[in-house]
């Protein structure tokens, strides 16, 4: 099976980008793909603590993320630089490994298919 990298570069509640990306990642995992997810740039806001999607009648993204391990998606990565620039307070229910820019280059190079889901 292929190594998939799903990139989430958009913030959670403005558009359905992040949610639709996660749905695709879960399907790839169900199909036995080796799935990694990378949060970078505005996408790191998906990791912010104390989200409450209900206040906007939406699903809470951080809760969806916390459930990814039950789909055997364990490799969640976040851009260290993007987190620091934005001063994101990460939800401590999430297990996310932070990567340098160079490590992100390597992650991309080691993937067979990169799904960005941007429109």
């Amino acid at each position: 099976m292929k190594r998939y990298l799903f990139v989430i570069s958009r913030s959670p509640y403005r558009s359905s980008h992040a949610m639709e990306q996660l749905e695709a990642a879960m399907v790839a995992a169900v199909f036995d793909g080796q799935v990694s997810v990378l949060f970078r740039d505005e996408g790191v806001w998906n990791l912010q603590e104390n989200q409450s999607g209900e206040a906007s009648q939406q699903k809470t993204l951080s809760k969806v993320l916390a459930a990814l391990s039950s789909y055997e998606i364990e490799d969640l990565y976040a851009c260290h630089d993007s987190l620091v620039t934005r001063q994101v307070q990460m939800d401590n229910a999430l297990t996310v490994k932070t990567l340098s820019l160079a490590e992100q280059s390597q992650l991309i190079a080691a993937s067979d298919a990169v799904v960005t889901g941007q429109s």
Binding site: W45, G53, S56
Partner: protein, 89 residues
Amino acid sequence: MSLHLVFSVQGFHACQRRLHANDSQYLLGDVNYAWSQAAQVAEITSYLLAADAKTRGISLDISAPLTHIDYPDLVSLTVEHEPVVSWNE
């Protein structure tokens, strides 16, 4: 006096550079993320959509010249200001 509706982080930056003294601005959606890192303009009164801030898990220091409001308050602001200008880069 103008009221600025600011919908995106980049729109926020475009707006800040073109504010008129005594204007007001109302921040929606992802602009909640931008506020905390922005240099604040003293003469500008700023309002924030409470629901959008809560959704995103952003708790901002509202001792700054910033007030959390909801849609009915926004209606009152639009009665008091003209024109109403949207920013969304």
